[in-house]
Structures are given as structure tokens and as C-alpha cells.
Amino acid sequence: MLYLQGILAVTKRHLLVWKAMFFSSFALYTLEPLLVLFAFGFGLGQAFETMGGLPYIQYVVPGMMISAAMYAVAFDAAYGSFLRRVFQKTYDAMLASPLNVQQITFGEILYAMIRAMFPASIVCAVGAYFGGVGSIIGVLIALAVIALTGACIFTMILSYASRIKLLNRIDFMMPMFLTPQFLFCGVFIERSMFPDWVQALAQIFPLTHAINLIRPLVSNQSLSADVLLTSLSYLIIVTAFFTFYSIRGLKKALTE
């Protein structure tokens, strides 16, 4: 009970800080994807009437939901965690209380899940207005998948970010981790339009698997058991693995 309370206290602290900085964060992580949605929805929507068998707006809304979530979570995992660990020493403050590194990490992950769902919900609401959403129940389940994907991306980055001593060591995240996912994992262009090796490479990224699940859910298409099993297992296993490494990384950085 105390253990769980501790985790929630960490999440609550992050939510309070988020609230305090809401406007700058809103502009960056929510307005930005809306602009992209608008540009692609109208721009590309004219070029492709359908994509992957869906009206383009229905195709692009789930993609933008998850990519908005990815950016919000990724920057917090990379720069936010560095700020808390090195500049503001927030984690040291937490460790001076009865909290331990495990609780801190789980509190971070829980916060990342909430952060992932927020911009995705806004994008979804705007997308729904333009007819980009097929099923409300599907959206609710998709938000759960987005939360899981948020945890996955967050821990992947945190397991690395918790080990760096200089902030610029994480700068490669943009060109090597985020942009490839944004471009090649099926956010706004079907993966099958790319060469085979790009398609194969896309399989290693979480966004591919998230989109495999989210797009059928939001657009109310059937989701094959095969895809469900593969992509959901990918997200769960990768999250578990990197959660473990994040805890190890933070423990080493904070207590030794």
C-alpha cells in the first residue's frame, strides 16, 4: 500500500509541474501535431483519396494520435528526465524521502502513460470533427494501447538517458529514433509503399506495432488475431525489458 502510494506521489508531482507549465507544453505537444494533421489531412488527402483501404482522413487521424503521443513522451524521457536527474536533482530529493528508485521509475512510467494519452485525445477529438474516427469504443481501447506505447517509448529512451552524463548525448534520438518512426512506420504513408528493407526495418520500432493495433480500432476495421498477438506482445515485452534497464540505469546514476 505504502509502495503504491509512493509511486502515485511521484506521478502526482509530475502532474503538478505539468499543470504549472501547461501552456508551453500544450503548444509544443498538442498544437504542433494538430498543424501537421491539418496540413496532411487537407494536403495529402487531396492527392490520395484512400490509403490502406481507408478514406485518408481516417487513415491519418490514428497515425497522428500516436505520433503526437510519441513526441510528448520521448522529449520528457530524454530531456525531462535529464533535467530532473542532473539539473534540478528532483530524483535526489525523492530519494531523501522514503521513496526508492523502483518507485520513482514506476511513477515516471505512469506519468508517461498519461502524457501519451493527452495529446492523442485532443488530436482524436479534432480528427473526429472532420470524420476521422469510426468507433468511440475503438478509440477508448486505442487510448489504452497508446498509454502502453507511451510506456514502451518512454522506457526505451529512459534506459539510455539515465546513463548519459552530457545532455547532447541524446540528440541522436531525433534523427535515429523519432523521425524514422514518424516517416516510415505508417503514420501518414502506408508502409507497403516503401522498399522491402525499409518495411523490415520498421518492424523493430514500437510505432509500427502501435499503429497495427490503433488504426483498426479507431477506424472500426477488424483487427486480425495474428496482428493483435504479435504487436501487443512486442509492446509488452519491450516495455518490460526496458523498464528493468531504466531502473538499473537510474539506480547506478543516483546512488553510486
Partner: protein
């Protein structure tokens, strides 16, 4: 008298590096003990072990009645730390900072509220409750850090270099607060680089260097035991006829240590003062600059 903290032959290794070779000392309940030593002496590692963040490689550690492997939520709840670097949340208000910190302890909302009023009055910042941390001066932030460490009403308060970077007024104020805490019966463990601070506040000084305790005692005992009572500071070079006195070259000038006032006659301009803890520190740890930390 019971000990709030007891380290018995504590040894801590990181790989091949021995951060703490052998440290033994106790902090009796209700007393103030200062842990002094140059950078890299093993103070921080010792504090981390006392906070339960590191486990000793060997030796016995007892904190508030619990052994090192028994330091749990309950024990840690009774320890308050004022950290070396302020780590308040700059985006939050004073009140929110205390609330957030209290919630890390699993404390009830009403209790945190009561404590917030109490500890802010204690550090004389009750009127800054709604201010954001980023709007406060360095001295005020230090006082909020102090207040934050007291939110859980701890029995043991650890102050890690609490007055570094503060102006004299703020330092005097913090010293008064430490004395008040002691009067309330709290146990205090202090680390500092300021010898005057240690001398004023502590009942017992533990001097560590190279991971070992090199001297222990009350400030008076240490001064009496290790250095001559009179100190003359004079310009270099050391005047002839004074070679027989122990002296320390401190750059521009030289310190001459004597049991009586006899060096006075041989000196031109000089400054005479009684020996203090700084002299003990210089004598026992040497004057070479420590780069490692």
C-alpha cells in the same frame, strides 16, 4: 544515552576504489555531530549509507535502532535531509513543494497542511507560502529546503553543507534554527567546510580524511589536544629566531603556533588570535588542495 546513528568499522568499496576505508562514530540522540573532512574524504559516501541509499561493504551500521539491511520506509520517514544542492521544484510554489514532499512520505493531506504552517513559521517564511521557488532568493530557498526536511517531523536531521553560498545574515539565522531544533530534542548530523560553523553548533566533531576517522572529540578537546593555543599570522618570510615554533605556510603569510606569547617580540606587524578548529583541520589534513570530489 542511546545513539541515533552508529557506524562501526564501516567500509565501502566501489569496484577497486575504497571510498570509505574504516569509519566508526556515533551520533547520540539529541546531540549535534559534525562530520568534517576535505573533498573526497568519504563524507558523502558515509551520508549516503546513513540515508540507506548505499549498503556498506562491511561493518555495522545502525540507524534509529535499525540495522543497515532493515532501513525501511518507517525508518527513512524519521530522517530529514537538507541537501547540499537545493533541489526544490522551481516551477511549483513553496506550499506545493512541501505538499509534494510530504506525499512522498505517504503523509495525510491534513497533517502536511498543519506541518506546512508550522515549518514555514519555523524558518520565518510563512508569508511566502504562495510564492514560486524561482522567485525566491538563494537564502530563502535554503530555508525552504530546511523547512521541507522537517515536514515529516523527523527525529534525525541531516544537514549537508547547509550554509554554503549564503550571506552572513542568512548563515546566522540558519545556525539559530539548528540550535532551536536541538532544543526541541532532535538529533543533528552536519557536514560543512566552515570550521566556525562546526565549532559553534557541534557537541562532537568527527574529522575524516582518506576514508578514515583521523580525530574525534568536542571542538574544545580537539583544539586543546592537537594545536597550540596561540596563533600569530605574519607576513612571509618567517622572521629569524622563530624556526623552533611550528608554522604553516598559507600562501601570502605564515601561521606561527605557540604555547605562550613569546613570538610577539620578534614579529613586526602580526595578527594574534586563539587557536580554532581550522588550525586543527589544517594540521591534521594538510594544506594540499584536494581536487577529487
Amino acid at each position: 544515552m542511546n545513539n541515533a546513528v552508529k557506524l562501526d568499522k564501516i567500509h565501502k568499496k566501489f569496484g577497486e576504489f575504497e571510498a570509505v576505508k574504516e569509519v566508526s562514530f556515533s551520533v547520540p540522540e539529541g546531540k549535534c555531530v559534525s562530520l568534517l573532512g576535505p573533498n573526497g574524504a568519504g563524507k558523502t559516501t558515509s551520508l549516503k549509507m546513513i540515508m540507506g541509499l548505499l549498503k556498506p561493504s562491511s561493518g555495522e551500521l545502525e540507524i534509529l535502532g535499525a540495522q543497515a539491511n532493515e532501513i525501511n520506509h518507517h525508518i527513512k520517514s524519521r530522517i530529514g535531509l537538507v541537501p547540499q544542492d537545493d533541489n526544490l521544484d522551481p516551477d511549483l510554489t513553496v506550499e506545493e513543494n512541501l505538499y509534494v514532499f510530504g506525499s512522498y512520505y505517504g503523509l495525510k493531506k491534513e497533517f502536511i497542511k498543519e506541518q506546512t504552517t508550522k515549518v514555514l513559521e519555523f524558518v520565518s517564511l510563512a508569508d511566502r507560502r504562495k510564492a514560486k521557488i524561482s522567485e525566491l532568493s538563494g537564502g530563502m530557498r535554503r530555508r525552504i529546503s530546511f523547512a521541507r526536511a522537517l515536514v515529516s517531523d523527523p527525529d534525525l536531521v541531516i544537514l549537508d553543507e547547509p550554509t554554503t553560498g549564503l550571506d552572513p545574515q542568512a548563515r546566522h539565522m540558519l545556525w539559530q534554527k539548528v540550535r532551536n531544533l536541538k532544543a526541541e530534542g532532535k538529533t543533528i548530523l552536519l557536514t560543512t567546510h566552515y570550521m566556525d560553523e562546526a565549532e559553534r553548533l557541534s557537541d562532537l566533531i568527527v574529522l575524516v580524511d582518506h576514508g578514515q576517522v583521523i580525530a574525534k572529540g568536542s571542538p574544545r578537546e580537539l583544539i586543546k589536544e592537537h594545536v597550540e593555543p596561540h596563533v600569530f599570522e605574519a607576513e612571509k618570510p618567517l622572521p629569524q629566531g622563530l624556526e623552533k615554533f611550528r608554522n604553516e605556510d598559507i600562501g601570502e603569510s605564515v601561521l606561527i603556533y605557540s604555547t605562550d606569547l613569546s613570538p610577539e617580540k620578534k614579529l613586526g606587524t602580526f595578527h594574534h588570535r586563539p587557536a580554532n578548529l581550522e588550525d586543527v583541520f589544517l594540521k591534521l589534513t594538510g594544506r594540499s588542495l584536494r581536487e577529487s570530489n
